[in-house]
Point group: C2
Chain length 360, copies 2
């Protein structure tokens, strides 16, 4: 087992990579939590893993309630957050009671938001069961729900007290979900660590074969990079924005697909477009978008808008980017690579170039 | 004009006591806000004061939208928070756009919660128009909405960037609303400052006559005391709990009255019961409940359960206290006076004594 610390002062916490779900109870013991825990989970993950987690928690004397959320991004909304509040109130959860989010990003974001806002914040623990949740949402404390008009528009920063990762759960994860997570893993190579980018290029077969050491390495390195970035900028005042590489176009694609495309797939396409835009803006040479596109494609991820179920208009994509959280004063900030391993956040990009790229 | 600083590190902010609403624009200039502002207000306050605030803001180049919330505690809920999100999204508000809460506690709590959770937090400015909002909710960053099962159960800590108080607005405040605020003012004397308690006793006529200097003094001193307490304990880990003096029984009364009794009136009654409980628990001598009750009554505030529209059962009140946020591990913590100017937070009180007091 390897521990990655997320350094946030009094809100610091540890990510335990490679523990067993059967150790959830002992891991939570000693965090100073109250006796009542609510495990938030969807039916699929409940069937596979909830029993082991719940029994381990009960063995340590916790009183455990399960809150079942239907499976799907469309349930990450205020109504289901309210359903969680109601369950907590009905069971007299107090400020020391804790929420355990057992699942992927939807469960983590929703349960985390409920924890952030129930009684103005109660402790929460994340037990991510997807690669995407492990390498992305487990670090940094972003929680939230969707608004009908745009994704993740309602939320709060709320750091977990601990993150527990049993890598064996990835063996039951659908292949396409695993690859979606790989898009975010690749992102860390592009924005921060050229050696890691090379590692991903040189160890494709081990990674795709779910080799335990290779998985532990890429998850650990991804968490380390995100922890370093977030530790320097918890509330996204500056540096943290680099984590949005690929996400500006990516979010517009998700919206255009009505959130039926996987997040990582949309981000994969977004990274390719951002890299091309960087080259057209003379920030990097032509090899950067080429290498980014090649690595993404080699992991079976989509690289352009033809992967969408319908071709969105350029204006539609531009409009969504405009309303995106990363826009400020109406001008969208793009994260663009200067080289593999280094990016800049800039408003200095040419709208006409982007429109041409998106028009194909 | 007098400035009270709320010392919270990078989240510190100033309360400007005695400014004019016509100076709202210049006061907000220089806070580094974006161009777009949303003034959240109810119809009553809009009619009286919104125009002056909006014109002052526009004169400084801000683009100002008004969001009207119906008048009443029953609209402080998730649905109306969502209505604010929708208005902000529709008008492409970004992370630098700000919310101005112009009104009493309901508007401040609701607009503050929307600001805390829109895009995970945007700036907000409070312009309280009731005495209660000036001396209570303007300091400390508590925001939130009600859940059908209990008040203020959903919320977040989110500090305002500035608080602007034009004391002239108190001249249009209904007398009963003013007195409701006085209950919280009296609270500060009991929990922190015996001299202030005496001041309130000796200057009743000036205060009730809305003498400008007396008003400025009691608001300033109330804000100073709350700022000192909150500055030492932003997230209510310890000391801040003393601000809940009178609120444990008070909240149970509000619930029993279906939130149709004013907050300050319920707190006034709660302070009397807490003071009597303190005496019965041998924490203070008999003069403390006597003096507390006498001062409260002298300001025309209710002092016992006979002021309710119906007499609640003791069990009903006990049950509500149990689910209150201040309960931990099932045991309610009471704030009890040791003398005028000093209180303790304790679980060591006798349930039977409280039941007898409540039974009357």
């Amino acid at each position: 087992m390897h521990t990655v610390n997320v350094p946030l002062g009094e809100r610091s916490y540890d990510i335990e990579i490679g523990m067993s779900l059967d150790q959830a109870g002992p891991q939570l013991k000693g965090l100073g939590l109250g006796q009542k825990l609510a495990v938030v989970v969807n039916p699929t993950v409940k069937e596979l893993y909830a029993k082991r987690v719940v029994e381990s928690l009960k063995a340590q004397g916790f009183m455990v309630m399960s809150i079942i959320i239907p499976d799907g991004e469309q349930y990450k909304n205020l109504d289901w957050a309210n359903a969680i509040y109601t369950a907590l109130l009905t069971n007299a959860f107090d400020r020391k009671s804790a929420i355990v989010a057992l699942g992927g990003g939807v469960i983590g974001d929703l349960a985390g938001f409920a924890a952030a806002t129930y009684m103005r914040g109660i402790p929460f623990v994340q037990v991510p069961t997807t690669l995407l949740a492990m390498v992305d949402s487990s670090v940094g404390g972003k929680t939230g729900v969707n608004h009908p008009m745009a994704k993740n528009m309602i939320g709060a920063f709320h750091q977990p007290r601990k993150v527990l990762m049993d890598l064996d759960v990835l063996r039951t994860l659908p292949k396409a979900e695993f690859l979606s997570g790989m898009a975010e893993v690749i992102k860390y190579g592009v924005i921060w660590d050229a050696d890691f980018f090379d590692y991903l290029d040189n160890n494709r077969d081990r990674i795709l074969g779910l080799d335990a050491d290779a998985l532990a390495h890429i998850i650990r390195r991804s968490c380390e990079i995100k922890a370093e970035v977030v530790g320097k900028d918890e509330r996204e005042g500056g540096l943290r924005a680099i984590l949005n590489f690929g996400h500006t176009v990516g979010h517009a694609i998700e919206k255009a697909e009505n959130y039926r495309m996987r997040h990582g797939e949309a981000v994969a396409i977004g990274m390719v477009y951002a890299s091309r835009l960087a080259h057209l803006t003379a920030l990097c040479d032509a090899t950067v978008p080429e290498r980014v596109e090649k690595l993404i494609a080699s992991y079976g991820l989509p690289t352009d808008l033809r992967a969408l179920s319908r071709k969105p208009t350029v204006q539609e994509l531009m409009d969504t980017m405009q309303i995106d959280k990363k826009a400020e004063g109406g001008r969208v900030k793009f994260v663009l690579p200067k080289k593999i391993g280094e990016v800049v956040v800039t408003k200095a990009w040419e709208e006409q170039r982007l429109r041409e790229l998106l028009a194909g």
